[in-house]
């Protein structure tokens, strides 16, 4: 079995520091994956996995992915909330692997909200 060695971790540490040392602190985007019991049953683990995969492919370090419990819209799970710095949060629902990858590319990387999959922006406006 392949072993993860201390040298492997040290190498990753040095590469990460090299990549991030010029960037100012803080995150540009916060993505919350709703992983309550309802979200998990609907597939939120796979949505989180797809998101992490996209982040790794995009090679970006200014995005934080976090989780929360049930957001109160169980029938629309799996859901994520995307918060870009200085903008109101956008909640997306009924997600699939394909949808979340599109949302990541268009909203998170290019800043364009994917209205066809959005449920709500901020606290009041519904799409």
């Amino acid at each position: 079995m392949a072993k993860l060695t201390i040298d492997d971790l040290k190498k990753i540490k040095e590469e990460y520091k090299e990549k991030t040392h010029l960037r100012e602190g803080g995150y540009r985007v916060k993505i919350t994956v709703h992983m309550g019991t309802c979200g998990l049953a609907a597939g939120s683990r796979e949505i989180m996995d797809s998101l992490l995969d996209e982040i790794q492919k995009a090679n970006v370090t200014d995005i934080i992915v976090t989780t929360s419990g049930c957001a109160g819209l169980c029938s629309r799970e799996p859901m994520v909330t995307i918060e870009m710095m200085g903008e109101p949060p956008v909640k997306y629902g009924d997600l699939t692997d394909e949808k979340i990858r599109k949302i990541f590319r268009e909203h998170v990387l290019e800043g364009k909200i994917v209205e066809e999959y959005a449920i709500v922006r901020g606290c009041e406006t519904s799409y």
Binding site: L4, I12, T37, G69
Partner: protein
């Protein structure tokens, strides 16, 4: 819930909500005993006797928002359906241990599911928690201790994309090698 690896995320979230900073998760398949065993131990705020009695009630929750507490009750139900057992030990201020077992060859036992993905997602989702994961099948075992890794990584977060990419590969290979035997 389709498989047990999803139940595991659900109960780990309970531990995190109870402010646990250390979570140990042991999963063991024993063909000899005909059992699949899952044990979670945390150092969260624990429960008193009254809360322990109520925690497998689907309509009991300590959450301030949200009205149900389905996670534990669904896991217990899955164990009972597979002629298993379910036990919670907890002490206020000390932490909680949940031990669940399933008859391995029971027709209604849910599959374990993608446990490698569950370990990886938990590390990504809760980087501030020190996880000790152990996966055993017969004589073979795979273990991962994120506290040890964090010491080496120092100020680089364990959920940094490059670290996660390596961890995903490492965990997946480790679990597969145990499953193949």
């Amino acid at each position: 819930m389709e498989d047990l690896s999803l139940h595991i995320i659900d109960i780990v979230e309970n531990s995190v909500r109870a402010e646990a900073t250390k979570i140990s998760l042991d999963i063991e398949t024993s063909i000899q005993e005909n059992l699949l065993k899952i044990k979670l131990t945390d150092n969260g705020r624990g429960m008193d006797e009254e809360e322990i009695k109520l925690c497998d009630d689907p309509f009991f929750t300590t959450k301030k928002c949200g009205s149900t507490g389905l996670g534990i009750s669904l896991l217990k139900q899955s164990a009972m359906e597979a002629e298993g057992s379910f036990k919670i030990e907890s002490e206020k201020g000390r932490g909680t241990t949940i031990s669940v077992s399933f008859r391995y060859d029971h027709i209604d036992r849910k599959p374990l599911g993608d446990i490698a993905k569950t370990f990886y997602i938990l590390i990504a989702a809760f980087p501030f928690v020190d996880f000790f994961f152990s996966y055993k099948k017969g004589e073979l075992s795979f273990e991962i201790d994120t506290a040890e890794m964090k010491k080496v990584l120092e100020d680089v977060p364990i959920n940094a994309p490059d670290v996660l990419k390596t961890l995903k590969y490492y965990i997946s290979r480790g679990i597969k090698s145990v499953e193949k035997g």
